[in-house]
């Protein structure tokens, strides 16, 4: 049986999961700011969240690079939602990382992540006060 708290939390849980993945991609962009021919990538957050909620996504799929890697059961892939950034200024070495944009997106995503945590904490606190009956 799906409990009330499950329904209430699943949205924020999915959002948190996606935000953590986006944070990872943005960290990868910042890390590769000086790597020749690296192309900056990001998640289309809106459609990824819609897709994830539609499929009631559990754990995200791990990328497998060998036939002997084990897939995670029931996992959905984010692969379809990852795209390349359009570049503002091209650089000679083929790198498309724009540090200003990446830093801004990183800070924004951190805030969204903290917001999701705050929402979850609020929900839990609400449930707690409901069951303690005061």
């Amino acid at each position: 049986m799906k409990a009330l708290i499950d329904n209430a939390l699943s949205f924020h849980q999915t959002a948190l999961n996606l935000q953590a993945h986006r944070q990872q991609l943005l960290a990868s962009n910042i890390a590769n700011a000086d790597t020749p021919n690296y192309k900056a990538r990001d998640i289309d957050f809106r459609s990824a969240l819609q897709g994830a909620l539609g499929e009631r996504l559990g754990p995200l799929a791990l990328s497998t690079s060998s036939a002997r890697h084990l897939p995670v059961a029931g996992a959905a892939s984010l692969q379809g939602y990852i795209g390349y950034r359009t570049e503002f200024q091209s650089s000679v070495d083929g790198n498309t990382v724009n540090m200003d944009a990446e830093r801004a997106a990183f800070a924004e995503n951190s805030l969204h992540y903290e917001a999701s945590i705050t929402f979850i904490n609020g929900l839990l606190r609400g449930m707690q006060s409901a069951i303690s009956g005061q």
Partner: protein, 135 residues
């Protein structure tokens, strides 16, 4: 593994790569006037080669230093007949280190290093907040 923990792997690989770049810059600047290196030949400027490398179980990429290459720039010839290393026409082959380029490299590496430590700090704060859910 949690994807937020992957941020540490990614930023850590970048810190490693940038500190190697800083190391070669230090070596180049220190040897800007070394007429003879370990092999008796003039010192040649070293450059690191960066490559994006996939992190296990993730779509994201870290950085890896695939090698340190010698600069292909021609050696600087200085006319100094009194120098014992001078050739028959009185020219001394000096290292091909471009000091201005190296200074720019140094600043760029240190900024990138700072950026990645920021990333790590943010990830650490977020993970701590995550651990405190429900408290």
């Amino acid at each position: 593994m949690s994807s937020m923990l992957n941020v540490f792997t990614i930023a850590g690989s970048a810190l490693n790569a940038q500190s190697m770049r800083l190391n070669t810059t230090a070596s180049n600047l220190a040897n800007a006037d070394s007429v003879a290196g370990a092999d008796g030949q003039p010192y040649r400027a070293k450059q690191v080669v960066f490559q994006a490398t996939p992190v296990a179980g993730a779509e994201a990429h870290g950085v890896r230093v695939t090698g340190v290459v010698d600069s292909a720039a021609p050696l600087r010839l200085v006319y100094d007949p009194a120098n014992p290393a001078a050739d028959g026409e009185g020219y001394v082959s000096m290292p091909n280190v471009n000091v201005v380029e190296e200074m720019v490299n140094m600043i760029s590496a240190s900024r990138s290093y700072q950026n990645n430590t920021e990333v790590m700090n943010t990830a650490k704060t977020l993970l701590q907040r995550t651990l405190q859910i429900g408290q």
